[in-house]
């Protein structure tokens, strides 16, 4: 490292003022163009015809139904993936056995696969030509083109979020505290809840927020398995697509505005969690 050069350059690093200005201006311009303008255009289009038009679009019965369905799929997928993430993080970091690497790879798989392919594989399994279809039909179950399919596709796409966030945190911490708890007679649940969970609580909150954001906005996988039955299998993003394709632009942007607000809230929550958890570490 440049320890010997500190004196020569006079201590603190001083940026070249011209380069600094140029780079900051370029970055601000890029960020404004790519990140801020899309938000502005949604808000402007949504409220362009006034508050009433916005409200009419948002309170439309199909929009409300889509919002409910989005809430259902998001809550179910996040709850399931949180339970899974906690179990997987425990199973992958508290013990040593062969095949741990393989298991991690399988958890990561949904990130490497296009959402469209995710939708496709559920169709190939549970769809009319899927091998599980006769069984489903015999029991009067419907997965593809129905709510269970939407939930399952959303689960698939968001599987890695919680597990991937928790695994490094737990792995870095070792197992001494759990061993101490067990030697003092604590069972699994007591050890997990009182000893392990407090260590990962911020990582957990953080990952749940991101998982919820992704689940709420999932489009490709859900689009493939939904069958686009308006009022039945339309989530908010799919509803936006239908409105947009039918040239109801105003309405499409009004519904989008709800999701924009939700995602800005997610970003704010994320940054609050980060600040709070950093403070706690110190």
């Amino acid at each position: 490292m440049g320890a010997g050069t500190r004196g020569a350059s006079g201590g603190a690093w001083r940026p070249n003022p011209v380069a600094r200005t140029v780079l900051i201006v370029l970055s601000l311009a890029f960020a404004f163009l790519m990140l801020v303008m899309p938000l502005l255009v949604v808000v402007s289009q949504a409220f362009g015809a006034g508050w009433e038009a916005f409200w009419r679009a948002v309170s439309d019965s199909f929009t409300v139904k889509a919002a409910k369905l989005t809430a259902i799929t998001t809550v179910t997928a996040v709850a399931a993936n949180t339970a899974f993430g906690l179990a997987a993080a425990w199973a992958l970091t508290r013990y040593r056995y062969r095949g741990q690497g393989l298991l991690t790879t399988v958890i990561d798989l949904p990130f490497a696969i296009s959402p469209i392919i995710a939708g496709l594989i559920f169709i190939l399994t549970y769809g009319r030509l899927g091998w599980a279809y006769p069984f489903l039909e015999a029991h009067g179950l419907k997965i593809v083109f129905a709510v269970p399919g939407l939930v399952m596709a959303t689960v698939f796409v968001t599987i890695p979020f919680v597990a991937r966030e928790l695994i490094p945190v737990l792995a870095a911490r070792g197992t001494d505290e759990e061993q101490a708890a067990v030697l003092m007679g604590a069972g699994f649940l007591r050890t997990f809840a009182l000893v392990t969970l407090p260590h990962v609580k911020w990582a957990l909150v953080y990952s749940v927020i991101l998982c919820a954001a992704r689940a709420m906005g999932e489009f490709g996988a859900v689009s493939v398995v939904s069958g686009h039955l308006r009022g039945k299998t339309n989530t908010l993003p799919l509803h936006i697509e239908i409105l947009y394709n039918e040239h109801h632009y105003r309405e499409a942007f009004a519904v989008s505005a709800i999701l924009v607000i939700a995602s800005v809230l997610v970003l704010a929550a994320r940054s609050v969690v980060e600040t709070v958890s950093r403070r706690e570490v110190r």
Partner: protein
Amino acid sequence: MFVELREVSKRFGSFEAARKVGFSLAKGTLAALLGPSGSGKTTILRMIAGLEAPDAGDILVDGQSVLGLAPTRRGIGFVFQNYALFRYMTVFENIAFGLRAQKRPKAEVRDRVAELLALIGLEELGGRFPAQLSGGQKQRVAFARALAPRPRILLLDEPFAAIDAKVRRELRSWLRRMIGHLGITSLFVTHDQSEAIEVADRIIVTNGGRVEQAGEPIELYRSPATPFVARFIGESTVLSGYGGLRGFEGAPEGASCAIRPEFVRLFAPGEPVQFENSVQEGLVEGLAFRGDALEVTVTVGGFSLATGYSLERPPLSPGQAVKVLIYRLYAFDGDRAVLVGNRLLANGGGGYNFQI
């Protein structure tokens, strides 16, 4: 015997952590498992606790095998090297954890924790979190936490390793007093021989997954059973082919030995020389002041030996010729160490007579 290990073996892959380890501890003993890092001592401790399972052999507590028992049921108190205090619980909650896990009544939990806090002298700090404690305080809390459920045996993994040198000495005598006062059978792991000698009633020396020797500290010092123990405990100089030393001429070709500083005596020029015919000429190589005495390095018969030299005696300087007497040494014979006296001395030099 209260704790007994019988031919316990354990390997991790190709690494043999324990090879037919056997030793036993009487009730109330404070024992040390002493050995260099990688000698298997921590593995032995973890096997007694049930944190690792031996591949072969048996571990008995109070006459009964504990191998079938889950760690929880063995009645073990364990102090981890880095204490493993629960970071998100107060000192009080840390100590109460084991009692709560056993579903003891609230009043009992409160009383027991208060009693232990008083015992470790931290009554005021029950509400603090581990991060707000000093290293020494953390160790005391870990100790109290391990004792709270009244274990049969207390195991401590390098209990002083994470503490700075100043506090360490104080904590050693504190721990010794505490354990003596409680009378609990205890075993701690250390790589520091002075720690083991100062604190333990009994030392088990491990090396390469084997027990080299077990016994009282003074016994290990006085009669090391193996070359490893002779080298590892106390100071000594190890020589190879020592047949050139006067009084040890019969030594087998190329044999090794260890010589402690107190086995060597120097006679300065002009000093009356005892045992005139057993001494040989030597040369002062270097002098180092050790506070209450000098440490002299002397060349004799082609070897460098270290020995103590009182400040009261005639001064020495480097390059000076002296007369050197070697009373005795530990001769290495395969994996045994044998005390051999200078055969030119009237009593054979074997009377290693010091007392405490």
